[in-house]
Amino acid sequence: MIGPAFYIAAAIAVLATIMVITRYNIMHALLYLVVSLLAVAVVLYLYGAPFMAALEVIVYAGAIMVLLIFFVMMLNLGKESAEQEKLWLKPRIWIFPSLLCIILLGELVFLVLQNHQPAAEVKIVDPRAVGMALFGPYILAVELAGMLLMAGIVGAYHLGRQKEKTLHRFLENNEL
């Protein structure tokens, strides 16, 4: 039997994901997605994977979401961005995500204070075992993941460069 902690975190995750897919404003959706990822991190912690929960917060909710948010902010630079931001910061917009975050925070504090033991059927896999598996039988996959990240960096750098013209070189003379 799993406790109410799982149900609360799961409900927040599902609710925040529903809010993600129904928002019109991309920024609101991103902030709701951060809440959803934090709720999933709580669920991972309850399933005996504390290291994965930390990685979820640091990499997903931290790095990837910040990348997306910076990207969205970079795209709509201009005069209207200030008043748009004023529009975004109305209390009825940020009060609901804040409420969800506060419920999550209260749950985390409660779990830490009462020295929560996981449910009887859930087995804890400690980070040591994960590390031993990662650099033992999965070492080839780790190297492949490193190559994938390298390809991602090179690809993002190459694609992200601003080009003056995107026409084909044979068409350039005809245009001029």
């Binding site: 993600v20 959803s36 991972l44 994977a49 990348l67 087995k123 996959a141 992200g160």
Partner: protein, 102 residues
């Protein structure tokens, strides 16, 4: 309501995955579609960790780390592609990119 933890976790992962799938099918804004892929990847990772805790082995968590690395690479390349698309089409509507105008 006495649900086995593995069942509950898999149900949660399934619900999150389906929500991401609905979003990627419904939305036309291309950043929202990238976001939905993130939601689906996250749900898959959650399913891996739940299975890992069910069997008591570390393999599922290893897969979660790989999913994390892949999501990071995918987001960086995807955002660069969206940037190129935005500079060429001046819009984020994915229907605008349906024709290749080649």
């Amino acid at each position: 309501m006495n649900v086995h933890p593995t069942t509950a976790g898999m149900l949660l992962a399934g619900v999150l995955f389906v929500l991401g799938l609905i979003s990627i099918l419904v939305r036309r804004d291309i950043i929202f579609m990238l976001l939905s892929v993130e939601v689906m990847l996250n749900a898959a990772g959650l399913a891996f960790v739940v299975a890992s805790s069910h069997w008591g082995t570390a393999d599922g968590q290893v897969m979660f780390i790989f999913i994390l690395a892949m999501a990071a690479a995918e987001v960086s390349v995807g955002l660069a592609l969206i940037l190129q698309l935005y500079h060429q089409l001046k819009t984020l509507d994915s229907d605008e990119a349906a024709k290749m105008n080649g």
